[in-house]
């Protein structure tokens, strides 16, 4: 059993929901990312999603794009990121999931990337530019290594297709709340709850909702229908203040912010 499967079995048995923060690896450097992941685990986050910076991300809004640019301008290398994640994984129980472009996975070689991820204790992959039709080769590679390959369903996904995607996904299903790129939104679409509820009836897989979520009221609104919530740009925006503020202060502020979301989740 994969660490992500274990986690959701346990959370479901306790009637609890997961909070999954997203941060960009190497923003502004890998040491800071490692330190911050430790803090997120200490605060009680259930999984952590780590964005591998990519030069041409088309699904990301300005905040996450800028974090990728900062990381790449710092000349962060993939092996340094994976080594750092290996160190973190040996120190915390929180499952780590990489969000990584297929451009990067393909360039390493599918087996090579999966082997390294497995060796570093990474539990799963989200590959945002790899739709289900193109994913069979990577799915086979991941399955052989007990890595979760998490697929996405969006508001534009037709329902019969959503069912097929749910069947292909492992670990959990990532439901994208909005039609658009990543970034904080004041309000979430009214049909979101209904869509997730419908999806819930089609699959036993845990469903985590991401894109646009940043406020405690979002957490209160969505946690009843989801198994987990993913928060990215709101953290990354705070991380962008490194350099203007001392590092330990930014770590504390991000931790405090995550704690307010965790509190809303526990209500």
């Amino acid at each position: 059993m994969n660490a992500i499967d274990d986690l959701f079995i346990q959370l479901r048995s306790e009637g609890r929901k997961a909070l999954m923060p997203f941060i960009t690896a190497g923003d502004p450097d890998v040491e800071f990312t490692g330190e911050l992941l430790g803090e997120l685990a200490r605060r009680g986050c259930h999984l952590c999603e780590i964005g591998i910076p990519y030069s041409d991300p088309v699904a990301d809004g300005p905040v996450i794009q800028a974090s990728y640019t900062r990381a790449l301008e710092g000349r962060v290398r993939l092996h340094a990121i994976l080594d750092m994640l290996g160190k973190v994984a040996s120190q915390v129980a929180t499952p780590l999931v990489t969000m990584v472009s297929y451009a990067i996975v393909y360039r390493q070689g599918l087996e090579q990337y999966a082997d390294t991820a497995r060796q570093r204790g990474i539990a799963g992959l989200i590959v945002p530019d790899l739709p289900a039709e193109e994913a069979s080769a990577l799915a086979t590679v991941c399955k052989a290594r007990d890595l979760s390959l998490i697929h996405l369903v969006t508001p534009t996904t037709p329902r019969d297709r959503a069912v097929r995607i749910a069947e292909a996904s492992t670990g959990f299903l990532y439901y994208v709340s909005i039609t658009g790129i990543t970034g904080e939104r004041t309000e979430l679409p009214p049909e979101l709850l209904e869509n997730v509820n419908w999806l819930r009836e089609q699959t036993d897989l845990p469903i985590c909702i991401g894109f646009g979520i940043s406020r405690p009221e979002h957490v209160r609104q969505l946690s009843p229908v989801a198994d987990g919530l993913i928060v990215g740009s709101a953290l990354v925006r705070r991380i962008a203040t490194v350099g203007k503020k001392p590092r330990d202060q930014v770590v504390r502020e991000v931790g405090d912010y995550v704690s307010t979301l965790l509190a809303a989740l526990a209500e």
Partner: protein
């Protein structure tokens, strides 16, 4: 009636071997995009498949090509250029004489008609040299569609006349200031717009790149170039040429020129990439000659990447060729050996620009100047009885100011 077949080209070939239903040209192509866009790409594929077999759609497009664009574009014998090179007869397929000054309009009219067919009223596009932006803005003005064009800030600087034209045509030009501020970043930004606007907006992609169905669709719309060339060669020369040369950035003019020639295996096809300032990474834009297969902008094709898979910076003085990727069908043609791909540097392209201007009275686009330069070299190796056709994909008026600046920089003095 002169050259009936050139004036009424046959419709695009229906039974193509590639791509397959997944948009694969052999190993290349496919769809590597966020799930949000899959439904729109499926819809576009379906609409295009219907339109391809719809005689009314084809008739409407051919009427626009003839009466709005001015097709067929002439096939012109460049006598003084031929004499200079001392080898094969050099003929120019004059896409520069199209309305808006390049081949791009062939495709944008087709995709704009599809936009109407889908009931969408807003269009987005990316542009490098600005030719596709102008051609999209033109098609949108013609059909009364809203138009937003994404363009890298560096390209806005070096292709100012086209920016002005787009605005005059009623399009909104949005500067892209992230990354390399060139075509590649304009494509990213157009995709990001589409992620949020996909319900109401159609993305008119300008080259034979991107996720399925774009590479195939753009190739088909541009294939009018090759079909006319074949008809004109038969009409004006009584036979097909020995060689056809076209420049390759994303590769739409080359795809459209080469595709109808594929079955004529006796005709040698040569694609010319931008060699920039040299073979070192970052100094050129030659993924087919110097890159390796990888993923960029939704398809699997040759690309310039570093060892981690990050897209590399590229260089060409020509904004339209300054792109780290290439259409997947070109990768396929390279693999099966049907097309030869060469590259050629900034200096040679500039020299060919001057030569064509002075010997033939034609200012070629800097993109097309690459094809002219390589054609001059190749013609010299052929017999005088042989024929070489160059796709003169666009005119160079847009480049005049940038060329003056480059010449001043190189202390050659102004033109």
């Amino acid at each position: 009636m002169k050259s009936a077949s050139a004036q009424n080209p046959s419709p695009p070939p229906v039974a193509n071997q590639v791509p397959d239903a997944q948009g694969r040209f052999g190993d290349f192509g496919g769809r590597y995009v966020p799930e949000t866009l899959i439904h729109a790409l499926d819809e576009l594929t379906e609409q295009y498949d219907q339109a391809r077999h719809d005689t009314q759609f084809q008739a409407e497009l051919e009427d626009l090509w003839k009466n709005y664009v001015g097709r067929p574009s002439p096939l012109y014998f460049a006598k003084r250029l031929t004499d200079l090179c001392g080898g094969a007869q050099i003929w120019l397929k004059r896409e520069d004489l199209n309305h808006t000054g390049a081949h791009k309009i062939n495709n944008t009219l087709g995709q704009a008609l599809l936009t109407l067919r889908m009931g969408k009223r807003r269009v987005i596009a990316e542009t490098g040299a600005g030719q596709h932006g102008v051609a999209t803005a033109t098609a949108c003005a013609h059909f009364g569609l809203d138009c937003v064009v994404y363009m890298g800030a560096e390209d806005i600087r070096r292709q100012a006349p086209n920016v002005f034209s787009m605005k005059l045509l009623g399009a909104e030009v949005r500067a892209v200031s992230c990354g390399s501020q060139t075509l590649r970043d304009a494509v990213n930004e157009a995709f990001r717009d589409w992620m949020g606007s996909v319900d109401t907006t159609n993305y008119i992609l300008g080259s034979a790149v991107g996720p399925h169905p774009f590479p195939r669709m753009v190739r088909d719309f541009q294939s009018v170039i090759g079909r006319e060339t074949i008809a004109q060669c038969r009409d004006q020369l009584g036979r097909l040429p020995e060689m056809v040369v076209a420049c390759v950035g994303g590769g739409s003019n080359a795809a459209g020129m080469f595709f109808p020639f594929l079955e004529h295996t006796e005709v040698k096809l040569v694609g010319v990439e931008a060699g920039g300032r040299g073979k070192q990474p970052g100094q050129h834009a030659s993924p087919l000659c110097l890159g390796q297969p990888g993923i960029l902008h939704g398809s699997f094709s040759y690309v310039m990447q570093d060892a981690d898979g990050q897209t590399s910076d590229v260089h060409s003085l020509s904004a339209g060729l300054d792109y780290p990727g290439v259409g997947p069908e070109h990768s396929y043609w390279k693999k099966i050996g049907r097309v030869q791909y060469d590259n050629l540097g900034d200096d040679q392209a500039l020299a060919a620009f001057d030569t064509l201007a002075r010997l033939e009275g034609i200012l070629p686009a800097l993109e097309s100047s690459h094809a002219v330069a390589r054609a001059m070299e190749l013609a010299a190796t052929l017999k005088k009885s042989e024929v070489l056709v160059v796709c003169l994909s666009g005119r160079g008026d847009k480049d005049a100011a940038e060329i003056a600046r480059l010449k001043a920089e190189r202390k050659e003095g102004g033109p």
